[in-house]
């Protein structure tokens, strides 16, 4: 058990590390080996995992000397450098003692995690995949072995390898072998590590099922999926055999966009939509395997770029196949028959996600870019495409988008919007989400539809279920507001827009920017300059949203400035006192933004009547000035308002009868349209009056009539 604790801590350390990694430099130094501790954990949790045998045996693999293929594969594969030397360190050292070791190894962790579900790869095949595998094979032979063994696990080559003992190199081999068991370890680092690892992952973990060790060099990927766009080293050293040399030939470049293109979007997902949708995560786990197929596809794509659509289709099918070489032809034929069923507009679509032309398909827009409603031409499933704005990005792919993608990939919850894939198309990058017909702003502003109380409670509960999940996962959303909360046509609620979200440290002293959250929803501590904040900021925002659900109006609609925003809050909740919020005077801008007069709390006066007693009590608790006193999302869910007070929550399935899609975007458009109409109507009335007056004046006397028009001009031009 001791161990377990340690391990868990380590994992969170890993999580923290990923945060740190954002800022770059350090990657190459940090490597935390999980091998040892993990194994022991595994024992405890194994029951849940099916593949325990794989894991179980790993620990005992003999140190392996990999066959040549391996060397290449691993030779230089780690862009992070030097994990090999370091690994031994922790193998032998007590957990805490071996710091140096941990640090060095961090980079490898993530892929271990990924390696998870993927079957181990045939080595040779995989070796070339390692884009980076090119350099200095010779020199590195020996250490490489250590890594190589990792890869070799699936290949059943252990014996062979160990017998080649002449090369017997270093002790680190063993720790490396431990890696494969990560798949089943429930404690492996969470998915937030994913993106960063991808590149490594694919180099390292090809699926086990494909054991044809002599797959052709052609299949090697020329892409390496790396969000980080690490520089690829191609060292001059010559590989020892011709074969390997050949294999490496196709590896050319890696480039961020390519990587993105390949990764989530594309391939089998398209032909396999149900699976995709059902469980995005699972697919992720298969990453390595998919990766391989992808590689084939990429290869092909590279070869026949010019081919037209049908061909593309075939490719997709082939990609799906385990052993593409054998079966793919058959599949191709099948697809060819299906194709004609495509409607004309879909067939003409240049994208697999068909969007209505022009601005018709836009369902949202903001600083981040635009969101389009799209339909998948083959599956007919709706999707929301969030276009990542690339203009004005000097430093390549925006790091904020990378962060958002990384976060979203690590999340899976029914109340959190799911990212299905990331797609690159015509030089634009899109995040593909499931489509939900409404958002809260749109719904609450709907001209006729009204939510019943049970519906409101159900929405509220889902909101806090989602938040609770995020906070437990160590994620701050930092932009909770009605417009970012989507509602499906069956009344299911999902949190969306993770553009400002980040992982947070559950312990220790955080220090984050306070320029987060749309200002109306921003909590007083943020407004007062706090940079060490936690999940309580989301609770405040959520409380604002709850008020909106009940009253259809924002509770603190300020003018966009901090000062005014605080005034709005003070007007409702009164000015804070030191006794109710001891930390108040330590706020960075407390002196700067000090209220000039004391105001009484008018919350009860304003809202008690409009809320049920329990709802009122709950909201009052969430609107505590002292963030430490606000309930957590978990507390909120256990509040009597949700658990006992009538009416019980009921899903708003009535939404399915609602015509059209209602987002903030549409409701804004509607409002504008209404304003325009009103204005026109007003103008018409004015014009009429004007005419009438004119006529009157004409009747009463010519002298006045001449002067009048001049006087009238200003008012008519206003319209």
């Amino acid at each position: 058990m001791e161990h377990t604790v340690q391990i868990a801590r380590r994992i969170s350390i890993l999580n923290n590390l990923t945060q740190h990694l954002r800022s770059g430099h350090q990657h190459h130094r940090i490597t935390i080996p999980l091998t040892r501790g993990r194994r022991s954990v595994k024992v405890e949790v194994d029951g849940e995992a099916n593949s325990s045998n794989i894991m179980g045996s790993q620990g005992s693999y003999p140190p392996q000397q990999s066959p040549q293929g391996h060397y290449y594969a691993n030779g230089q594969q780690s862009p992070y450098g030097g994990p090999q030397q370091i690994q031994p360190a922790y193998q032998n050292q007590p957990f805490r003692g071996g710091h140096a070791g941990y640090r060095g190894n961090y980079a490898q962790n993530p892929d271990r995690r990924f390696s998870g579900s993927g079957p181990p790869p045939p080595n040779p095949n995989y070796a070339p995949t390692a884009t980076r595998g090119r350099g200095g094979h010779f020199q590195n032979l020996q250490w490489t072995a250590g890594n190589a063994s990792t890869d070799g696990r699936g290949g059943g080559q252990y014996n062979q390898q160990s017998s080649s003992g002449s090369l017997h190199t270093s002790p680190h081999l063993q720790p490396a072998t431990g890696q494969p068991d990560d798949d089943d370890n429930p404690f492996r680092p969470s998915k937030n590590l994913q993106i960063e690892d991808q590149s490594e992952r694919d180099t390292k973990m090809p699926p086990p099922s494909r054991q044809e060790s002599e797959s052709s060099p052609k299949q090697e990927s020329r892409f390496s999926f790396a969000f980080k766009a690490k520089p690829v080293h191609t060292a001059p050293a010559k590989p020892p055999t011709d074969l390997t040399q050949k294999m490496k030939e196709p590896i050319k470049k890696e480039n961020l966009l390519d990587a993105l293109k390949i990764k989530p979007g594309s391939h089998p997902a398209n032909s396999h939509p149900e699976r995709d949708r059902r469980d995005d995560r699972r697919e992720r786990d298969y990453g390595d395997e998919r990766r391989d197929r992808r590689d084939h596809r990429d290869q092909r794509r590279g070869d026949h770029r010019s081919e037209r659509r049908p061909e593309r289709d075939q490719k997709r099918d082939r990609v799906r196949e385990r052993s593409p070489d054998v079966i793919k032809e058959k599949k191709v034929m099948k697809r060819m028959k299906q194709r004609p069923t495509l409607p004309a507009d879909f067939a003409a679509s240049t994208s697999v996600y068909y969007r209505k032309p022009g601005n018709e398909s836009v369902v949202g827009s903001g600083t981040y870019g635009k969101v389009f409603k799209a339909i998948h031409v083959y599956t007919k499933n709706l999707a929301a495409l969030k276009k990542i704005r690339m203009d004005g990005e000097k430093d390549g792919f925006p790091v904020t988008a990378v962060r958002e993608i990384k976060l979203l990939q690590s999340l899976k919850h029914e109340n959190v919007v799911s990212l299905q894939e990331v797609m690159v198309e015509h030089n634009d990058c899109f995040m593909v989400f499931e489509y939900l017909s409404h958002d809260l702003t749109g719904l609450l502003n709907h001209p006729t539809f009204k939510l019943e109380h049970a519906h409101k409670k159900h929405l509220g509960r889902q909101l806090f279920e989602g938040l609770n999940y995020l906070h437990r996962r160590g994620v701050l959303h930092r932009d909770i507001k009605a417009a970012n909360i989507l509602v499906s046509s069956t009344g299911q609620l999902k949190l969306a827009d993770f553009g400002l979200a980040r992982f947070f440290a559950k312990r220790g002293k955080p220090d984050y920017t306070n320029r987060v959250i749309t200002i109306w929803y921003r909590s007083p501590e943020l407004l007062l300059g706090e940079t060490q904040y936690g999940p309580a900021v989301d609770i405040w925002s959520a409380a604002c949203v709850m008020i909106e659900i009940f009253t259809r109006h924002a509770i603190f609609p300020g003018d966009g400035g901090e000062i005014n925003q605080l005034d709005k809050i003070y007007n409702v909740l009164g000015t804070p006192t030191r006794s109710e919020w001891p930390g108040l005077v330590d706020m960075a801008w407390f002196e700067l933004l000090r209220p000039s007069e004391r105001k009484p709390n008018t919350f009860s006066e304003k809202y008690q009547e409009r809320l049920t007693p329990d709802a009122y009590e709950l909201l009052q608790a969430m609107f505590m000035y002292d963030p430490a006193k606000r309930p957590t999302a978990g507390d909120v869910l256990e509040h009597p308002y949700f658990t006992t007070e009538e009416p019980a929550p009921r899903q708003a399935i009535e939404l399915k009868d609602l015509e059209g899609d209602w987002h903030e975007f549409e409701s804004k458009a509607l409002r504008k349209e209404n304003e325009r109409k009103n204005q026109e109507a007003r103008r018409a009335v004015r014009m009429e009056e004007h005419e009438r007056e004119k006529a009157k004046r004409r009747a009463s006397g010519s002298a006045i009539a001449e002067r009048e028009p001049k006087r009238m001009r200003p008012s008519s031009s206003q319209g």
Binding site: R9, Q26, N50, F187
Partner: protein
Amino acid sequence: MADPFEVRMRFTSQLQHLNASVNSSQKAAHYALKYRDMDEDLHSCILEQLERNSMNNRANIMYFIEHLCDMAQRENHLDFVRMMQRDILRVVDAVAPSDGSGAANVKVVRRVLAGLQQKSVLLPDTVLEIEAGLAERDDLTKDTHSALSPISPNSQQPPPDMTTNPAKRLDKRQIEQRIEEDRERHKRLRESIWAVGEDGDGEFERLWDEASEIGEDDWGVAEEDAVERRVAGEVE
């Protein structure tokens, strides 16, 4: 040889236009060191500007002083440092006046003093002494603030704030500017906040400290992963 008058004018203008960026502070410090032969003149410029400008600007000059001392030490021109040691009380009084008008600057003063002490520009004793004075002022202003004291029958005293506070309050634009500047400074600070030394266990220790105890959350995650694996197994 530059015209002393012109140097003075330029330096004054630089001080007046300091902003939250490290860059602007360093530029001014560079300038001061470039004309180090006029150091006394320039030092008097600093004092003059400190007593003349807005509270925001005074805060920026305070941060600048830290850069100036730092750079002067590096270039081994200790006159600037010596003069600053001599006049530090005057500086503090200007940045965070005792009448409470610069209450928002107290935190700035504390931070810079700590920095100066660390660079051994100031003796720990001096800093302690100044600290004590600041704390006194702090208490004073806090106590007089009626809006913050808990509601009690006694608090119906004559409103002391009406006379002192509103006049001293910065105007809205200045407050907003200050907020932005603080954010900018914070951003710069955060750029290096994660850095640890090349060797030693600093990084590990830090992560170790940040890691939370194992708890329900971790089991939740583990469970989730287990489900995932199970599903994965089925597909195989």
